[in-house]
């Protein structure tokens, strides 16, 4: 069968464009797989390594004031192996330029720290009382250099420190100024200084505010939760949570999980596209070789002898598709990893290459190619030797008749084109699909950035309309908050607001949430859904985001058990009904009115933030005043929150944009290949027309008319596909606090339409060129 292999090899050479196209698409899919898998594996390993090296705690607690000497009391709890305490607190960092309000979340450093270790760069044996380390990202933003003098303000007193270097901490990977939103390290990041110096700065000698607990092997958080709460409550327990709920750790794990979905989804799409192309190519090749296969069988060749020659192509395509993308994938994976590690300020950047991932990529590539080939050549098995004596049996009779009005409307050439579509609907469907797929993928993936930006802008321009959110270090009385507001000048409108970390429980499911207590009359902070509809906070129950409701498995009318360190005592939970579900774009996702707070929790409304809307041109003046206020934790500018929220989604946006680009490349290859393959099998038909004297322009008219209809069909099919992909993206990127209502703007559709139309026109142009170059003498010999 050596010569049969040679025949197939020559056929492959004749169709090399299609094979190269298939290899490119399969390579894109494998590249996405390898790049994302390597990126995520390294990120996971990096996180584990970081947590292990820095002795990341199993359980975290935040308290108001706990004497350091009382920490050992926690060791009495069964299941607690080790305990660690640290003083932490927010202080203002003053910069000469501008009025930006910069906050450092300072952590006390001790040489004998045993848990939640701080990594100082450069490494230091000791930290002197006047040295200050700043979070790596903030240090980069401001270009701090060792020896720079930095000024801190705490409790109304100003002190100067020497910048000694950068600090990294697993707890500070995702430094959130408030419980919602996204990190903005230009205004909020971690910092570190000598523990005694910090105690002096904050005026909290001998106390800790952050507690870390190491559990004994096999012990889980729920087993120690109640005794820990009991022991910590006297010291003003604010929060108690396991490692998985630690903000930074949780943010990274969330990101990894959402990318895992992309790893599963996107290569699958590309593999299906490749399968589609290869299947069509192989099927056409077998159809073309039908008589030859019949002849070989007549000579005694077995199915396996014949089929194995085709399968060899699958092996070659699979090998190429698995090998070619390795280098670009590793480069892309490394880029994503470095970008993410920098975003999360992780100190160790050890990107390692894992050949097992390459092997998996190779398996996917081979599996795709061989599956497509097996499907494509299965007809080999049923071809009978007698078929070498005759052409393939024609398909069944055609009952299709053009309606009279269509018949009158079209000339003969257009009828040939139209009939060709209905004569072989599968062929037309394949072409239409090859247009529909890139149309839907490019339009949906390419629209994500617009939709996300719009969602974030809508939130900050329509729902949260304040210029500045000032978060107070503690909950204060409404009167105190209002007295602060009264002192501020240049403020057009001001309100107070409050939020509480709570745990929502429904049956056996629990979720941590931030309960936003809102004023129904507020003009600066409102509940808005992704369709820009506003909702008033309710006093008769909770308004929940659909994301939370789905996670908790609750619907309107269900009752949730709500508990929270500040709102409930001991094991107490408060039962609150869910009264409304809202598809919020961006926000806490759990809302109650002030009246509702008082009603359900029997507690007075106590604000912990101030919302300020500055007079035009007065924002800097307001910020300067806020800078001097006592008791302020952080101040967040609406505009910066908007930017940081958008930046947080940067990698997702980059990825989806890249995918739109890849889809475009794959789409152009697919459109060309499918049209080319479909037209090639009709070369004899067009050649006959040319022999009969049909001019080039007339042949062109037939092909263009037919492909124009296929194109329109493809675009029409593309719309529902786009919608389906939009829902998929919504599902993939949606979180408790972020929902996007994916939609594709008419301009995006128009642009994608233009791209697909250009690709189709170019493909049709080259196909027509090929058709018009037919050797007419071949037609005389051809047997359809």
């Amino acid at each position: 069968m050596k010569y049969y292999s040679k025949n197939i090899f020559r056929t492959v050479l004749q169709n090399r464009g299609s094979y190269i196209g298939a290899i490119i698409i399969i390579s894109i899919g494998v590249m996405v797989f390898i790049a994302m898998t390597e990126f995520l594996n390294n990120l996971k390993l990096g996180l584990e390594d970081y947590c292990e090296k820095n002795e990341f705690a199993d359980v975290f607690a935040s308290v108001e004031n706990m004497p350091r000497g009382k920490l050992d009391d926690l060791l009495d709890i069964e299941g607690v192996d080790a305990v660690f305490g640290r003083l932490e607190g927010d202080v203002r960092l003053l910069r000469d330029e501008g009025s930006r309000i910069i906050t450092l979340h300072l952590m006390g450093w001790r040489a004998d720290d045993s848990m939640n270790l701080l990594t100082l760069r450069p490494d230091a044996e000791d930290v002197s009382a006047d040295e200050l380390y700043v979070g790596a990202n903030m240090a980069d933003v401001y270009g701090f250099a060792p020896g720079d003098t930095l000024t801190l303000v705490a409790n109304g007193r100003t002190r100067h420190y020497t910048y000694a270097g950068k600090v990294h901490s697993p707890e500070g990977m995702y430094p959130l100024a408030s419980e919602s939103g996204a990190p903005d390290t230009a205004i909020y990041d971690i910092g570190a200084m000598n523990a005694e110096a910090l105690e002096a700065l904050l005026g909290k000698r001998g106390t800790v505010t952050a507690v870390g607990v190491r559990l004994a092997p096999g012990v889980r958080f729920p087993q120690v939760k109640a005794p820990l709460e009991q022991k910590l409550r006297p010291y003003g327990l604010n929060d108690l949570y396991p490692r998985k709920d630690q903000t930074s750790y949780n943010a990274l794990i969330d990101e990894i999980e959402s990318y895992e979905l992309i790893i599963a989804l996107l290569p699958t799409i590309f593999m299906l596209v490749t399968m589609f192309i290869l299947y069509i190519m192989l099927k056409k090749m077998v159809d073309k070789d039908r008589q030859l296969i019949g002849t070989l069988k007549a000579f005694g060749a077995t199915n396996w002898e014949i089929a194995s020659r085709y399968l060899l192509q699958g092996v070659v395509i699979g090998l190429a598709g698995g090998l070619l993308p390795i280098l670009p994938a590793e480069l892309a994976g490394r880029y994503l990893y470095i970008d993410d590690v920098n975003y999360y300020a992780m100190p160790y950047q050890n990107y390692s290459v894992n050949p097992a991932v390459w092997a998996n990529g190779m398996l996917i590539s081979m599996g795709t190619a061989l599956t497509a080939l097996l499907l494509g050549i299965r007809d080999v098995l049923v071809i009978m030797p007698a078929e070498s004596m005759k052409s393939a049996a024609p398909s069944g009779g055609l009952s299709f008749r053009l309606p009279r009005w269509v018949d009158r409307l079209l000339n003969r050439r257009q009828k040939i084109g139209l009939r060709a579509i209905f004569r072989n609907l599968l062929r037309s469907l394949v072409i239409a699909l090859s247009i529909a797929m890139p149309f839907s993928m490019v339009s949906s993936f390419g629209s994500f950035n617009d939709v996300l930006t719009q969602t974030i802008y809508d939130q900050f321009l329509k729902a949260d309309t304040y210029d500045l959110q000032v978060r107070l270090a503690n909950y204060v009385s409404e009167e105190t908050a209002e007295s602060i507001l009264r002192k501020l000048e240049g403020v057009r409108a001001a309100e107070t607001a409050s939020s509480y970390p709570v745990k929502l429980t429904a049956r056996n499911r629990s979720e941590d949430a931030l309960l936003a207590v809102m004023d129904p009359d507020s003009t600066l902070q409102r509940i808005m859904d992704i369709d820009n509809q506003f909702f008033l906070p309710r006093s008769d129950g909770l308004i929940l985001s659909e994301g939370f409701a789905n996670k908790l498995g609750v619907a309107v009318g269900d009752v949730l058990e709500v508990s929270g360190g500040k709102l409930t005592r001991d094991e107490q939970t408060v039962r609150i009904p869910v009264v409304q579900l809202v598809r919020v774009g961006f926000g806490s996702g759990c809302y109650l009115s002030r009246e509702g707070l008082e009603r359900f929790f029997q507690t007075r409304y106590q604000p912990n933030s101030l919302l300020l809307d500055a007079e035009p041109g007065q924002l800097d003046r307001v910020k300067e005043q806020v800078n001097k206020l006592r008791g302020v934790s952080v101040a967040l500018e609406s505009e910066r929150m908007l930017q940081s929220s958008a930046y947080e989604m940067d990698i997702t946006v980059l990825m989806l944009n890249l995918l739109a680009g890849f889809s475009l490349i794959a789409g152009v290859i697919m459109i060309y290949n499918i049209i080319n393959i479909s037209m090639r099998e009709r070369r004899n038909e067009f050649g006959t027309l040319m022999v009969l004297g049909m001019r080039r322009d007339e042949i062109t008219e037939i092909i263009v008319f037919e492909q124009a209809i296929n194109f329109v069909l493809g675009i029409l099919m593309g719309f529902p596909f786009s919608e389906a992909l939009c829902r998929l993206i919504e599902y993939a990127v949606g979180t408790d606090t972020l929902s996007v209502a994916m939609h594709i703007r008419p301009t995006a559709y128009l642009a994608t339409f233009g791209i697909c139309a250009t690709a189709t026109m170019a493909s049709v142009y080259f196909v027509i060129r090929g058709v018009l170059d037919i050797q007419l003498t071949e037609v005389l010999k051809a047997r359809d």
Partner: protein, 234 residues
Amino acid sequence: MKEVLRAKQLRKQFVTGDVVVNALAGVDFTIDEGELVVVLGPSGSGKSTMLNIIGGIETITSGELYYQDVAVHALNSAGLTEYRRKYVGFVFQFYNLMPNLNALENIQLAGELSSDPLDAKELLDGVGLTERAGNFPAMMSGGQQQRVAIARALCKNPDLLLCDEPTGALDTKTGVDVMRLLTDFNKKYRKTIIIVTHNPAIAQVANKVYYFRDGHIERLVVNEHPLSVDEVAW
């Protein structure tokens, strides 16, 4: 009779790598209007190449070919298309019907390419397929398809009808029917027909028979009294 085709020293070389094949090695012939000419010869003798050159689907290496006053050898691609469109009809061994058009439409399609077409329905009736007007090629037998192909070629009302093994894929009876159609057309419309075939029996109905061998015309036989199709022992 008026001379319609004249060839002088027609040569056609096919070059594949180092191999040069002289498909036509200097052929001279003349064909008159209304003649039925049969070209016979073994495979590779150059008969199909000559038919292709006459039909304007193959260019020549050297020599001259005139159709009436048209210097076919000097025509470019567009000129050859116009030449085929205006003067030539083709009947193929494997019919080459448009799979997406029914029998009548296949014939009408060819009519659209002509400035003076014959009536498609009459032609379909003439080949005995009126009942099959709405049938598509896939729904017809080989003989029926070839009859439609002949009607299609005739519909253009070509001055020159070129047939490449028109009965080659048919059984004897159907082949005889097809030959009857061709000779009838030749007599009825006084159109020139050139048939390339392996079947020597067909030569008996021709006015002229060219025997080809190795790219040359080995001999020319002129039948002063050609037989009718029914007189031939098929």
